[in-house]
């Protein structure tokens, strides 16, 4: 086994999932200005929905991902409507606290409904491939390809569609967007729906190689925040690059230094970048 190459592949796989989660988080932050701490909990819901559709519903895995994404889009929109919209004109801190409160609500509902047990997907794509001393399962290849496809689709959606342009305009200048006739309240709702569907896709993609359980969102939320601060809050390229960077640093750093401190490496990178460029890699000063 080639240690370096294998860790690069491991890092890219985890990085692609990190990127997806961070992308959702960063576009939500870019539009609403709210750090949605409950993003990881929505990722967990995405994993559960697809798990249940596949196991209890007998639905095809790809269809299950699409249904989970659609369901979470709706849930995201509902959350915007009933949690964040009433707080638009309140002090910023209120939305922060509401987002933290959401974690408890979602995680505990999951705990009550599905119990604390770990669930495992039935085997889906566990064929193994060996090349250049590297081992990879088909599912891991699928994760990376799907994540990249989703990232490209998101970029096209933002650049090529009217809704996408409205989102981009609102992110650039909320007042300006409103003046040119964009319904920014509706943009808020679409954005939370869109961002949440990306979290759902990430959860549904990684579910089969991990376990599905109510607390699974906590770890990715923290990492997604590291990524978007690293990449620059609200920056799409920052979230993509940051996600892959973090995945690679964790696995390669773990291989040559010690796996015990892979989180020290991740946060060390964050501190270093912020010391040199306080707005993050792609962040703009306000």
């Amino acid at each position: 086994m080639d240690l370096f190459l294998q860790q690069v592949i491991n890092g890219i796989m985890v990085g692609s999932v990190y990127s997806l989660v961070a992308l959702g988080l960063t576009i939500i932050y870019g539009i609403l200005g709210v750090p949605n701490f409950a993003h990881g909990s929505l990722y967990m819901l995405g994993a559960y929905f697809s798990f249940l559709l596949v196991t209890a519903g007998g639905v095809n895995y790809w269809l299950a991902i699409l249904i989970s994404m659609a369901a979470l889009t709706v849930i995201g929109m509902v959350i915007e409507r009933i949690v964040f919209r009433p707080l638009v004109n309140a002090p910023h801190l209120n939305s922060f606290i509401a987002a933290i409160g959401l974690i408890y609500v979602i995680d505990n509902v999951a705990l009550i409904v599905w119990g604390p047990d770990f669930k495992r997907f039935p085997p889906l794509y566990d064929q193994l491939y060996h090349f250049l001393g590297v081992t990879i399962t088909l599912h891991r290849i699928i994760i990376v390809i799907t994540a990249v496809v989703l990232i490209v689709l998101l970029e096209l959606f933002i650049k090529k569609t009217t809704i996408g342009s409205a989102i981009e305009a609102t992110a650039q200048d909320r007042v300006g967007a409103r003046l040119s006739g964009i319904n920014v309240t509706r943009v808020d709702m679409w954005t939370l729906g869109l961002g949440t569907s990306l979290a759902a896709a990430a959860g549904a993609l990684i579910g089969p190689i991990l376990l599905v359980y109510p607390a699974m969102g906590g770890a990715v939320t923290l990492k997604a925040f590291v990524i978007i601060i690293l990449g620059g809050m609200g920056s799409i390229p920052g979230a993509i690059l940051g996600g892959f960077l973090l995945g690679l640093i964790e696995s390669i750093g773990g291989a040559y230094l010690t796996t015990n401190y892979h989180e020290v490496l991740a946060f060390g990178l964050l501190v270093t970048v912020l010391a040199i460029k306080p707005t993050g890699l792609f962040g703009k000063a306000h």
């Binding site: 086994m1 240690l3 294998q6 860790q7 491991n10 890092g11 796989m13 985890v14 999932v17 990190y18 047990d117 770990f118 495992r120 566990d126 193994l128 081992t135 399962t137 990684i206 190689i209 991990l210 376990l211 359980y213 607390a215 906590g218 770890a219 990715v220 923290l222 990492k223 964790e250 696995s251 773990g254 291989a255 010690t258 796996t259 015990n260 892979h262 989180e263």
Partner: protein, 273 residues
């Protein structure tokens, strides 16, 4: 007072009223360590949780494996709350070519580690600490992946007639899927021991007398499901213990391990520095 733990610290405090039913983690480890050694494993990698018990398991295994003359090729500590993928840990550990991997952590993630290690081509064995419940792991990982693992025998599979009776009534009451745990079995038996000791001591208010009477009521007849037959002066109950292996895709017969000699050699409170 019953402290349910395999950590010897509770009976080291010197409280004469504390007793504990689970035996020490070092003793539980000794089964898989001995069997692994007999299989010819010499190079071990450790993947233990970073929780307190995981750290203790790591310390004990290091001492026990080195004591045998074995070599430790990798020690990785896993924070099960924050890990997203075990591949990076396993890639590093497997690059050191271990003969066996010692695991200590929750059963389900441990089962995932086993599955993923097999994906990465690991052919060696797994020695499991007491937190890894093999019957629960078998629900997550396929039996072929679990081949060549050795760990503590799940209580439901222990070949003790009273335990089997308890197992059957537990299943009748809570359903086929409800696996009786060490926790429920030990606490069930301790409750009866306390009740019998109260009868024997003729008091429900003098805890010292009750504690003194415990040795006289052991084992507690039909309720001695785990067969606790002695309590040491430090407060450690001694009972039967079995290790079990998975070979050729099947659970083997449980292997009876007498705690007597081990406790004579190390005592009830042994903990390496």
């Amino acid at each position: 007072m019953h402290g349910y733990t395999d950590n010897v610290a509770v009976i080291k405090q010197g409280n004469k009223l504390v007793v504990k039913a689970p035996m020490s983690m070092a003793f539980y480890n000794s089964g898989p360590v001995d069997i692994g050694w007999q299989r010819g494993y010499r190079k071990a990698a450790l993947l233990c949780g970073s929780h307190e018990a995981g750290k203790m398991a790591e310390k004990l295994f290091l001492a026990q494996w080195k004591d045998k003359g074995g070599e430790i090729v990798e020690v990785a500590s896993i924070d099960f709350k924050s890990v997203t993928d075990f591949y990076p840990y396993l890639t590093k550990a497997l690059s050191k070519n271990p003969d066996c991997i010692y695991l200590y952590g929750p059963s389900e993630p441990s089962a995932m580690i086993v599955s993923q290690a097999r994906e990465l081509g690991f052919k060696g064995g797994f020695l499991l600490g007491s937190q890894c419940k093999m019957d629960e792991m078998a629900k997550i990982a396929p039996m072929e992946a679990l081949n060549d693992t050795v760990g503590v025998c799940p209580v439901g599979m222990m070949p003790l007639p009273l335990m089997q009776k308890y197992n059957a009534s537990h299943k009748a009451k809570f359903g086929e899927d409800a696996i009786p745990t060490s926790e429920s079995a030990f606490n069930y038996e301790v409750m009866y021991i306390f009740a019998e000791a109260m009868k024997k001591a003729g008091t429900v208010t003098d805890p010292y007398k009750i504690r003194k009477a415990i040795n006289d009521v052991l084992p507690v007849g039909d309720h001695a499901i785990r067969g606790m037959y002695k309590v040491t002066s430090e407060g450690q109950f001694i009972s039967g213990y079995f290790a079990i292996q998975i070979l050729d895709g099947k659970f083997t017969d449980p292997i009876n391990i007498d705690p007597g000699p081990w406790y004579e050699k190390y005592g009830a409170t042994w903990m390496p520095e």
